[in-house]
């Protein structure tokens, strides 16, 4: 099977969806780049290069560079979605949610319910997230928890290229507003990705490793750190169930609960601030529904409760690291 990067996988999904369905459009700042300029069009193909090649293939009517106007981009996507198109809107950095949040959680998320099921909002909002780029407090946040808590939104966090393609094709088909969260650290990672179209269903977790001593749930980029640690500790005989929910809304509670019922221990790892976050949410679900199975306190491994600092050493301290994951593992294993 061909090996593709996370970036290429999403690009391929967009190409295929646009080829299949003429109502799919892509819009956002610099989704092609070069609009109105003297040089080449499609100069950026999205600031992360994810939408490259769509403009030459599908033209300006379907690949739309916008001014810097996030509220209008998201609102227009929602309006178009309500009236016959399937927009994929790009919000360069998830940090820019703040500018357009009303259009996301008061508008797009609520149409279907508020209008008694008569309206639909089949749109995707692509955004990049994640620290590690030394990009400072306004370009590094993972705000997945903020959208996960909004009823009506579906939230997707692919950790590898295979999932990214399948989840994107699923997202474009979906009739609800889907927030598609791309960790910018992952764009150049690769794995085997089929050329043909396929979907990965929402609400179905993926098991990266199967084991009996403890359950580790990890969201987004930290999954890769978890795998490195778990593989190292395997030589000591430590055996972990490693679960990637893939979508935080809907959440595959069943997979997590079943796993904890056999291992009796849970660690949740994400790169968000700790309060009211996904780690806290998943911990509370397990505490509530699988309390009898627990043999050790649940451990959350998250970022620190601070804005993301600029200085590299501080940013590294802020992020959950392999050493934090390893000590959490050793910690919960101390309980008999």
């Amino acid at each position: 099977m061909p090996v593709k990067t996370y970036r290429e996988a999403i690009n391929e999904a967009l190409h295929q969806a646009m080829r299949e369905d003429s109502t799919v459009i892509v819009l956002g700042e610099e989704v092609s780049g070069g609009a109105g300029c003297d040089g080449s069009r499609d100069a950026y193909g999205g600031v992360m290069g994810v939408t490259k090649g769509l403009l030459p293939a599908y033209g300006e009517a379907r690949v739309i560079d916008t001014p810097i106007t996030e509220s209008a981009i998201i609102g227009a996507a929602a309006g178009a979605a309500q009236t016959g198109l399937r927009p994929v809107a790009e919000l360069m950095f998830m940090d820019f949610f703040g500018v357009c949040f009303d259009q996301i959680y008061n508008q797009a998320a609520k149409f279907h319910y508020m209008f008694g099921g008569k309206a639909q909002c089949p749109m995707v909002i692509r955004c990049t997230t994640g620290a590690g780029w030394r990009a400072g407090a306004q370009h590094s946040q993972n705000l997945t928890q903020m959208v996960t808590m909004v009823p009506g939104l579906k939230v997707v966090c692919p950790t590898n290229a295979y999932d990214a393609k399948g989840l994107m094709l699923q997202a474009i088909q979906d009739n609800d507003c889907v927030i598609f969260v791309e960790d910018k650290i992952l764009y150049d990672t690769s794995c085997e990705v089929p050329d043909e179209m396929y979907t990965v269903p929402f609400g179905e977790a993926k098991f990266y490793r199967e084991g009996s001593d403890l359950t580790i749930v990890a969201i987004s980029n930290p999954m890769h750190k978890v795998l490195a640690v778990v593989d190292r500790l395997a030589s000591e005989g430590i055996s972990c169930d490693v679960i990637d929910p893939r979508t935080t809304s809907p959440l595959d509670e069943e997979a997590i609960l079943e796993s904890v019922e056999t291992t009796g221990r849970l660690i949740v790892v994400d790169e968000m601030t700790p309060r009211c976050g996904l780690a806290a949410d998943i911990s509370s679900i397990v505490a509530e529904k699988a309390f009898d199975s627990l043999r050790a306190p649940i451990r959350k491994v998250t970022a620190a409760h601070s804005p993301v600092p600029f200085a590299p050493n501080l940013e590294d301290t802020w992020m959950p690291q392999e050493s934090d994951i390893e000590s959490a593992i050793r910690d919960v294993l101390e309980y008999a």
Binding site: G33, G34, G36, P67, I68, V99, S306, A311, P312
Partner: protein, 338 residues
């Protein structure tokens, strides 16, 4: 509507309003910005600067021109392209260099970096990495000035791209409604990343759009320090006299990419070379000042020399400074104990 409050003026730099002292002050600021940025560009290539750099090169006359009219009590708020505004407002170049290199002694303790650089002692309320984040905040600063009965003014720098943002519209309207001493200073360099203003700005220009909000608006050639100064003088006087906000649209070139490392495939052939040859505000200011005998060449050479030394020292000191202590991570999340 009276022409007094709604005319689109385009002052030409016919008057010579800058004496030797003022000119040298502006020239020093411009030269410092250019040299500072040339140096950080080089240090970035060497891997000594983390993160992103968005350089101001080519736009120096705007920051220098307006800041000649402001003192430490006046406020400015900046954009992701903020080094020039920070330097022109009088920030310590050594502390800026340390901040950009993420070192101890940086203006923001290494927490902010290039995109979030600030110097509150100098009335510089911060570079802002959210496009359109600044204008509402400068409206607040202007509200403080008015409410507290000072004659301070607030200047929100923004690009042509930011002029399309809803936050900017709301801020401009509120400033008009409350008659606040705010200047919306748009530096139209033609580009918002790789999208041209001719595509992204739907109105004829930014100034006429601002007029629609009910405030006077000026357009000025931002490569001409003298014209910038003359225009800004009118705007600042208008604000200090309690007549409400003003918009200025300064047309400037952007010599660099959107960010350092931007391949700029969207730009025309030889475009940058031509701009640098014909529209370099430093060269233009220098030539005019010499022609009109405001200063002598040796005065300008001396400034160049002093600035070069300053930048050299700032770079060496920043390179030698230690990174912030890891324990700083949770300091200043709140201003009182959590």
């Amino acid at each position: 509507m009276s022409t007094e409050t709604n005319s689109l003026l385009e002052p030409k730099s016919t008057e010579q309003l800058l004496d030797a002292e003022k000119f040298l002050q502006a020239y020093r600021a411009m030269r410092t910005i250019r040299s500072f940025e040339d140096r950080i560009s080089e240090q970035f290539m060497k891997g000594n600067i983390p993160g992103f750099l968005h350089l101001y090169s080519g736009q120096e006359a705007v920051a220098a021109g307006i800041c000649l009219l402001l003192d430490d009590n006046d406020y400015v708020i900046s954009t992701h392209r903020g080094h020039g505004h920070c330097i022109a407002k009088g920030a310590d170049v050594g502390a800026m260099m340390k901040e950009i290199m993420a070192k101890q002694g940086g203006l923001c303790d290494g927490k902010g970096g290039s995109m979030h650089i600030a110097d509150f002692d100098k009335g510089m309320l911060g570079a802002n990495a959210i496009v359109g984040g600044g204008p509402p905040i400068i409206v607040g600063a202007a509200l403080s000035a008015k409410t507290l009965g000072t004659d301070r003014v607030g200047v929100a720098f923004g690009g042509d791209g930011s002029s399309n943002q809803g936050t900017t519209f709301e801020a401009m309207n509120l400033a008009v409604v409350l008659k606040l001493p705010a200047i919306f200073l748009f530096e139209n360099n033609g580009y918002g990343e790789g999208t041209h203003a001719s595509y992204a700005v739907g109105s004829r220009d930014i100034a006429s759009r601002a007029q629609g909000f009910g405030m006077p608006a000026y357009q000025v050639d931002g490569t001409d320090l003298f014209a910038v100064y003359e225009t800004c003088r009118k705007a600042v006087e208008h604000c200090r006299a309690g007549k409400g906000p003003v918009t200025i649209e300064a047309n400037v070139p952007r010599f660099k990419g959107h960010f350092e490392g931007d391949p700029q495939a969207y730009r025309g052939e030889q475009e940058v070379e031509k701009l640098m040859k014909d529209q370099d505000c430093l060269a233009i200011a220098r030539a005019r000042a010499l022609k009109e005998k405001i200063v002598k060449a040796k005065d300008l050479d001396r400034v160049d020399q002093e600035v070069a030394e300053l930048i050299e020292q700032a770079t060496e000191a920043a390179l030698a400074a230690p990174a912030p202590d890891d324990s700083e991570l949770l300091k200043n999340v709140y201003s009182s104990a959590y």
